[in-house]
Amino acid sequence: MVAQNFRHALFCALITLIIAWPIMGLKLTAVGTEITVVGASAFTWIAVALAAVIVFLFQLFRDKVMVGLGAVTILDRLADREPLPDEKRLRLENIGLVLLIAVALIWPFFVSRGAVDLATLVLIYIMLALGLNVVVGLAGLLDLGYVAFYAVGAYTFALLSNYWGASFWMALPIGALLAALFGLVLGFPVLRLRGDYLAIVTLGFGEIIRILLNNWTSVTGGPNGIGGIPDPTLFGMEFGRRVKEEGNTSFHETFGIAYSSEHKVIFLYLIALVLAIFTAFVIRRLMRMPVGRSWEALREDEIAARSLGLSRTGVKLSAFTIGAFFAGFAGTVFASKQGFISPESFVFLESAIILAIVVLGGMGSQLGVILAAIAVTILPELAREFSEYRMLIFGAAMVLMMVWRPQGLLPMRRRHIKLKAGG
């Protein structure tokens, strides 16, 4: 047994060297028009050797290590804690929520513009992730082209404002509804496909939409994108230094305060906050309604769900459409925040990031997804030297989560329903 383990460990270490050394240790570098191979730094070489040694030791003592890892259950205890009694929990939750929202409202006035901007981005990701959570986490449909609906929302606003001068408030519902319509139309034919095929087909749809945006230059501006997307207004008041449109007034003049570019940023943040709260609230209600239960039922056991009279297409389509709706929402906010959009922002990687958020947070769990969205967006900013490792870490995290903790860091907790005795 030991000899066998030893041989296997040696083999694994060798494989580690083979897959790490050429790619990491030998760097292709362009010198003028010529390409040469340059050995990487000594640090990299040592790291590769170290990795091989670690793999060797891990494989040699695999059984013991695995037993040790099995003992790490702190997270589980957190997740499996006894739910509080209903009234107490409700009161606590309400107080917590009010406090949280109050802080979220006041906070931007005391920090830098960059921080507020980042927070707006976090809120956009929260909306996206909550929407995708409906599709992936609740309904169990792996949608790899989610970013397409985000793009529909963003481009709807961009095009409406460019061609018809539509404002943010007009574009917001139209963008979301149009994205939902896209979801409905695309979803109808593909939703009877099996899970893994569905994933690939949605990925294909996402790419097709991106390619169309890239090449339909006359309308979308192609790779150059569309600029000049207006900021949102507050009851017709604009946030720019000068009023862009006839008949509007500007915010700082109305209130007689000095112009500050921060007003706009904070206002946009507040809009995103309201929309994110709206998204979370609506989805939370939906989860507890018949439609939400049928999503989960279909995810858990499609055959049983059908045997109880649930129509597979109808239920899946509702999840797909509602998910798309919120992506369209987020897209409109995003377009407004950037002022400029191009197909660059809607690549597959973006879908993958949103998926990573849902997977890390815990599929189906709203709180988990929100926390994960915050973590995934802010951590790379805090540790800038590591930010280029962001996607590498996401990829690795997705694999690790599936292997060790497919339910996510903060798995969904079921609502307890109190029944009347006797019935």
């Binding site: 018949p290 239960r293 989960e296 858990e300 049983a304 597979r312 307890h416 329903i417 029944l419 006797g422």
Partner: protein, 251 residues
């Protein structure tokens, strides 16, 4: 009420069910028995709409229903359980029962979002019905557990309760006693009889546990290798030479 006429089902070259007929009257327990691989579950899958039969008719109150999609058949009041229990494992016991009642609920999105009185009233009624059936099958205490964490016998009962909250006319049970211990089987026995007596549901039963079948069936259909072998009361079937041969082999 339900009539199956000359049902046939072919998979590629294999004729899994060949000219099987059976009928179920109101207020009756009918069993389908037969050796392993006889095609019993295939008959069920055709009746519940999971398979489109390749031949024959299935009539409900004289109307043909064969080949209709599964969820439509279920909405007509023909509801089934599965050989290997199929619950919504990561949903709670109550939620399992609520899902089943979607037909009785107000599924309008808007009225749900703003929680109109009508919506709430129906939701409450569904909860009450769930609560009633949980008590009926003895799972009241476990209402908020995840269905996947129940013991096996409890899962079997939950599956039956989940069918019953849909207020079916005909209940199709596929090996409900499989994996139960003798005490649980006795309880199940009484439950099935009570479904028929107290709730006016007809039952079609596939079962291996002969003592259960012989005890509660009004009539028994025996199929062997996809073909009908015998029909009759338990007494008739028990003494039928063909049946004995099918089970014990040629002497």
């Amino acid at each position: 009420m339900l009539e199956v006429q000359n049902l046939s089902m072919r998979f590629g070259g294999l004729l899994a069910v060949d000219q099987v007929s059976l009928d179920v009257r109101e207020h009756e327990i009918v069993s389908i028995i037969g050796p392993n691989g006889a095609g019993k579950t295939t008959v069920f899958n055709c009746m519940s709409g999971f398979y489109r039969p390749t031949g024959g008719k299935i009539l409900l109150d004289g109307k043909e229903i064969q080949g209709k999609p599964d969820y439509r058949i279920s909405r007509l009041g023909l509801v089934r359980t599965f050989q290997h229990v199929r619950l919504f494992n990561r949903m709670t016991v109550v939620e399992n029962l609520m899902v089943a009642q979607h037909r009785h609920l107000n599924t309008n999105l808007l009225s749900g979002l703003v929680a109109t009185p009508n919506y709430r009233a129906r939701e409450q009624k569904a909860l009450d019905r769930a609560s009633y059936w949980l008590e009926r099958v003895g799972l009241q205490e476990l209402a908020n557990r995840d269905a996947g964490n129940l013991a096996y016998g409890q899962q079997r009962r939950l599956e039956i309760a989940r069918c019953m909250v849909t207020e079916p006319r005909l209940l199709m049970l596929d090996e409900p006693a499989a994996g139960l211990n003798p005490a649980e089987t006795r309880e199940l026995n009484q439950l099935i009889i009570s479904l028929k007596e107290d709730y006016n549901v007809s039952v079609v039963l596939i079962e291996h546990d002969m003592s259960l079948v012989m005890d509660i069936s009004d009539r028994i259909n025996v199929i062997s290798q996809g073909r009908p072998l015998a029909t009759g009361t338990p007494e008739e079937v028990r003494n039928n030479d063909e049946v004995i041969k099918a089970y014990l082999g040629e002497a």
